[in-house]
Symmetry: C2
Subunit: 308 residues, 2 copies
């Protein structure tokens, strides 16, 4: 099967063909880059929603129960699960993944797990390309689920059109939320596991904190959910749609898409450099000089970049 | 206080001065870069041990109970705690951090928490520079504690001389360990929380898996510990010393330091590019062309790099 046949089949939403197209994109073969270029040109019409938050807050479950709501508005939905934490978190996450397979028989739902293990640059390296490829293939909606550790919540915010931050009531107080950077990326807050004690307080805390912020025309909602029962999922999806309408009517969408383009370009530059240079092999003398403390890495980097 | 005074005081291990030096390095001010260059030239004599593993395995506690053993061999120890997970993980980690403050009154122990939130490039951006600075200031031993999520365990393996992977018996089976990439980075395995059921099985599993691997002359030990009581910490530190002796006598240390130099150079190149280019501001036309789907990010990146 050549790539144009594969692409045609993927455009008809043949699951195996989509999977193979995404693998080409992910592995960054020459074929993958060709395919990616074509798909990127076709894209721009889909909408993407990021779902992030600390481990154990129930992101996978919420993603799963959002799906039927998404499918009331869209013919298809792609789910991109960025998976660095799943081998680490044991039972709970595995349970969530199994719940995801509820959608396994539904050919309107395409699920892709992205493992970034071992790659430099984290989530930014593959996920935006996978999301762009699904968009280019004609998926009207893509949900991106990623654990909010370190920097990943910032990366998702430059990939997704709407970012949902999912917390559990036991997770922490307003100061923790602020310290973790969630305040900077959230378009929508969800306090999941609403059956647990402390939900009311957590919601009130978040609302109080949000009042302190300077809104840019969008009032960030705080929604209590009990995702294992599906409670609140309708309200979450309604908020995504309202946020989309806000972005589109206010002109903010245009700005957001520019920010995404800039982030994609920055990621592509980093990728291209990482892929093209093996310093240990290509810059033997410089590496030796650093190892011998004759030059420091920062001065060496500046000289390399000046010399280009 | 100018920087040479600050450096002199830090070289005499004045805690506040060390802290201010590290902040200069971390914030990458011009002063920080100057200081870093000087410290890098002074370094190369210290030894660094990375302690990684999944959340909740007891890395902080193990780090803490290793300290008295380290201090039997070295006059001082620096602890670098890479902290992306602490705001997320709630009580357990906070408890561990409090236990760390057991060393707060001991001026032979310097503790630095590195938050990488919001920075691009994850752990690789600041941690190697902080470790190099402590080395340059004259710390004979540095312990680096970082959660093994996504790629961070790979980054620690290119920063530390010896890498300890800490697991808990309930964490998972051999397949999970292998999938998570721990097998590729571990010089020493620790199964912590040895009071729990499953320790014996976990140790046996790991040993069986390690037998399958092709050893490069170093037999990776698997040590059961109960870090909260300090049990096994002596054996862990003994293994670190044995591994160091192996690296030094076999010539592997030279190779490892070269790998570290190459990784530092790659990180410095990425940092320099990230710091120097704001694509949204500097490449307005290209960003617009990407946002309008006239060009894809990968082709744009290649053209930018070719044009340099």
């Amino acid at each position: 099967v050549d790539n144009s046949e594969l692409l045609s089949a993927a455009r008809l939403f043949d699951t195996r063909s989509i999977g193979r197209i995404l693998s080409l994109v992910e592995n960054r073969t020459d074929d993958g880059r060709t395919v990616m270029r074509e798909l990127f040109g076709d894209g721009g019409n889909g909408y993407s929603t990021g779902i992030t938050g600390p481990p154990g807050s129930g992101k996978s479950t919420l993603t799963s129960v959002l799906v039927p709501h998404v499918l009331q508005d869209a013919a298809r939905v792609g789910i991109v699960a960025v998976d660095p934490s799943s081998p680490f978190s044991g039972g709970a996450i595995l349970g969530d993944r199994i719940r995801m397979t509820n959608h396994a028989g539904d050919d309107r739902v395409f699920i892709r797990s992205v493992a970034n293990r071992g790659s430099l640059g984290g989530i930014s390296n593959t996920t935006p390309a996978i999301v762009a490829a699904l968009d280019g293939l004609g998926f009207p909606e893509v949900l991106i689920e990623t654990v909010g550790i370190g920097q990943s919540e910032f990366e998702i915010a430059t990939t997704a059109d709407t970012t949902i931050v999912v917390l559990s009531p036991g997770w922490g107080d307003a100061i923790q939320v602020s310290k973790a950077g969630f305040l900077e990326v959230a378009d929508i807050f969800v306090v999941n596991k609403a059956d647990r004690e402390g939900t009311h307080g957590a919601v009130a805390d978040l609302l109080a904190m949000l009042e302190l912020g300077t809104g840019a025309g969008w009032e960030i909602p705080v929604i209590a959910t009990e995702a294992t029962r599906g409670d609140g999922a309708d309200e979450v999806w309604d908020s995504v749609k309202k946020h989309r309408m806000f972005l589109e009517s206010s002109g903010a969408m245009h700005m957001r898409r520019r920010k995404q383009a800039a982030a994609q370009l920055a990621a592509a530059v980093r990728q291209t450099i990482d892929a093209s240079v093996d310093y240990e092999r290509d810059a033997t003398d410089v590496v030796s000089a650093i190892a011998d403390r004759v030059i420091d890495p920062w001065t060496a980097a500046e000289r390399i970049l000046e010399a280009q």
